[in-house]
Symmetry: C2
Subunit: 233 residues, 2 copies
Amino acid sequence: MDNFNLKFSACLGCHFVPFCSSECNHGGNGKQLTSSVKRLLRLKRKEVLYLPKHKFQNFYAIQKGALKTYQMEANGKELIRAFYFAGEILGYKAIATGHYLFSATALTDTVICEIPYDEFLKQVHAEPELLKLSFHLISKQLNSGAYLAASTAEQRLAAFLIDLSRRLRPAANSDVYHLPLSRQDMGNYLRLTAETISRLLSKLQKARVIAVTQKRLQILEPEKLELFAEGLV
Amino acid sequence: MDNFNLKFSACLGCHFVPFCSSECNHGGNGKQLTSSVKRLLRLKRKEVLYLPKHKFQNFYAIQKGALKTYQMEANGKELIRAFYFAGEILGYKAIATGHYLFSATALTDTVICEIPYDEFLKQVHAEPELLKLSFHLISKQLNSGAYLAASTAEQRLAAFLIDLSRRLRPAANSDVYHLPLSRQDMGNYLRLTAETISRLLSKLQKARVIAVTQKRLQILEPEKLELFAEGLV
DNA sequence: CGCCGTATTGAGCGCTCTCAAGCTAGGTGG
DNA sequence: CCACCTAGCTTGAGAGCGCTCAATACGGCG
């Protein structure tokens, strides 16, 4: 946030850009925050953004990095409810309940714009164009993670990898993705064990559909991966 | 809809009531529809409300009856995405995509209020109080069906029965619910087979937690059912 | 270089599915 | 009124996918 270029590139692709005032979109010295973004937060890996039952007051737009929201099940296992990557927005679920439902922690070092819900409402009210857009954004979240209902582990994992490839930016000039999450995290999201994830990744690799080592992912044959996701293999 | 009393009782508990004009809330002869409800639809069991790819233009508020939304998987199996009962609203998911995603068909004879999205937007724009409320309603849908992520069949079914008991009205002066859906429907929603549903219902009945015969359901011990839902039994 | 968290791979078990055989309830026609 | 019919429900036996438990390999970081 120290110069315009940095700020501008950070905002590129952010769903929340239309709600930010013009200096974010079109220029300015970038030293002051926009009208709806009141604060900038920096989280280190594993740091907590909010905890369940915390009072809902803000949306959070991710400028850089990644977070997970999760809850603990009665058996002590972690159930991951969602991942959030650069450009995406947390907090919609908390509107209805008035408090956050899950824990949110950073998967990597992360930079976050804090947007007070009150400010958001004011903006939407002032700019009728933003009304349709905001319904659009919340509606989009209703359709996320639809593939979690797929019946086999292989289908869910394949669909998850496709989802990741659409939401993460590949490393510069390549089709290589850096995974900001562990096998255990994938399993806790897809309701599988880390062992099953590992086995299936190996299987997809042997089938030459992906190439994967630790945190490095390359999708060699997107169409075939799609077939795996639909259970047609 | 032929007299005021009928109309009023039909609207009782409907999430959409604040968006209807005063004659629905407070009286009037009831012969004319409210400002946002443009049309009333009557569907017989198994009739279709909309199909996937149909252009999104309306929300639908259920006055009486029940619907399911579902899609066909590549293997030919029906995957039910949601059930909708009296007072609930369909269509939020289609805002983002511009068309409906799934098929919607009636589980029983059903009466539905059709609400053009344009009218809805006009109302929200005219009445700032409705802005917060509408975010609230959509947000609530984000939290529905959270229990589908539960790991065992027993947990998912127990949680589903609790969900049903909160969304269906029991028969007059009783704690008996009439289930508007088949075992197969439950299975297609919970990602289980009808056989597994049947076995688990029998098991819960033997444990004296519920009493169930065909379409008649009685929850004898809600607290115990909650324990099953959390996997603590 | 050694340490420790993470990932991989293997063997055996259990939950849920598949396939199959009765059973029940509600509707139809004689 | 009852025999029949059919769709939905129940119950059983066996199979397979993903889990548990366990051993080993890898890799980042001090």
